[in-house]
Symmetry: C2
Subunit: 210 residues, 2 copies
DNA sequence: CTAGATTTGTGAAGCTTTTCACAAGCGGGT
DNA sequence: ACCCGCTTGTGAAAAGCTTCACAAATCTAG
């Protein structure tokens, strides 16, 4: 039933879900028009995005808020808990680990791993930092499906490869390199410097045109 | 000379620049093929991307590494210093503030602003946290061009609007909402939860197909 | 100076995503 | 029961991005 779905559609689905949370109404409905307004897109786009997954609106009325939310959660795979491990216990790792939205959305941190002997054995929240020599063992033992990779660029590829070998299914990568992993393992990159560069490009470009 | 440049091209330019740093050679050259290999793209794509900005390769030879680097830096607006302010001194803000790659790439933090009275006046590195009531004043005084917005979602829109009013030219937004600002002000969103959702979608989708 | 081996720059083709536009379906009012 | 206003779902058109393929340019060797 589902052909290949554009990356951009997936991003928008997340947005729609976020927007729906603003409509806490029982039994209320929402139109593609309203959803578009809150998501900086168009009504046609909203309908096309949703139509990839079946048709769950009512003509003349719109979408039932609670039903649409359930459906989106199921589509995005958020109707279950994902066990994740944080690899790299630096500043970024710490900030992410303490970010409450993770757990709230079904992403449960079950392990923290670092290579620094000074950090191994210390406790963060309810987790004790494990050494990276134990990486595979920890990932397998705890059935980790996702890792948040927040290690220096030099170490990232090796950690990624070992994690995939240990059965990890997806990687959220903060290291500023392109990881080489089998195509079955999705990788999402978060690269703040690149985002800043996109900003300075846009501004410079606008100034040049002026 | 420059028509509209695809967002995806800009991202790749950043990658090329990052790759070039690996080729620290004086006077060396690099072909589109080599650059493509390091960037998970194709040689044709590399050439097309660069051709948007003129032609600075030599046929039969490739691109001069140092020249290409200079050119990319200039295109991306990295041949100068960008003054940025951090608004929101929470975990994420702290992690970013201490991230050395920022300064190394020409992004200089010149102010930190927060609304928490307990934080105002405390010192981070060489900066004293200012109160958000002083936002406009601080941004103007220090000629801030970019802000890193790391405040709770509820506060983000108001801060963004005030910052734009105070002359900010671009926003790196960590708050999980779409900001409504004038089109001349570029906004880049960093939304970790959305990236995780893209991962769980991809995995769920693959499992469904199987 | 010529031949051969490379590699760029770029129209054109191919593919993907977005936008358009409208028939079909639903609900409320009379 | 029927009409009217509204909103979805969706082919088809338009726009946008990537890949192809090849002429033109450059270098090396003889």
């Amino acid at each position: 039933m589902t052909r290949r779905i554009p990356e951009s559609t997936v991003r928008r689905l997340s947005h729609y879900l976020r927007s729906l949370e603003g409509f806490a109404t029982e039994g209320g409905t929402v139109s593609s028009e309203e959803l578009a307004a809150r998501g900086q897109t168009t009504a046609a786009q909203v309908r096309k995005d949703l139509s990839h997954f079946g048709s769950f609106g009512k003509r003349g009325l719109g979408y039932r808020v609670d039903e649409l939310r359930d459906r989106l959660e199921s589509i995005l795979g958020m109707d279950r808990v994902w066990r994740l491990a944080l690899v790299g216990a630096g500043r970024i790792g710490l900030a992410l680990f303490e970010y409450p939205a993770f757990r709230a959305r079904g992403y449960e941190s079950v392990a923290i791993i670092d290579s620094d002997p000074a950090k191994i054995g210390t406790v963060w929240g309810d987790l004790t930092i494990r050494g990276s020599n134990e990486l595979e063992e920890v990932l397998r033992e705890l059935d980790v499906e996702l890792i948040v990779l927040a290690v220096p660029a030099e170490a990232a590829q090796e950690v990624a490869s070992r994690a995939v070998e240990a059965g990890v299914k997806g990687i959220l990568n903060f290291a500023p390199i392109r990881l080489d992993v089998p195509p079955r393992v999705p990788v999402e990159d978060v690269n703040v410097v690149m985002e800043l560069e996109a900003l300075s490009f846009a501004i410079t470009q606008a100034e040049r045109d002026a």
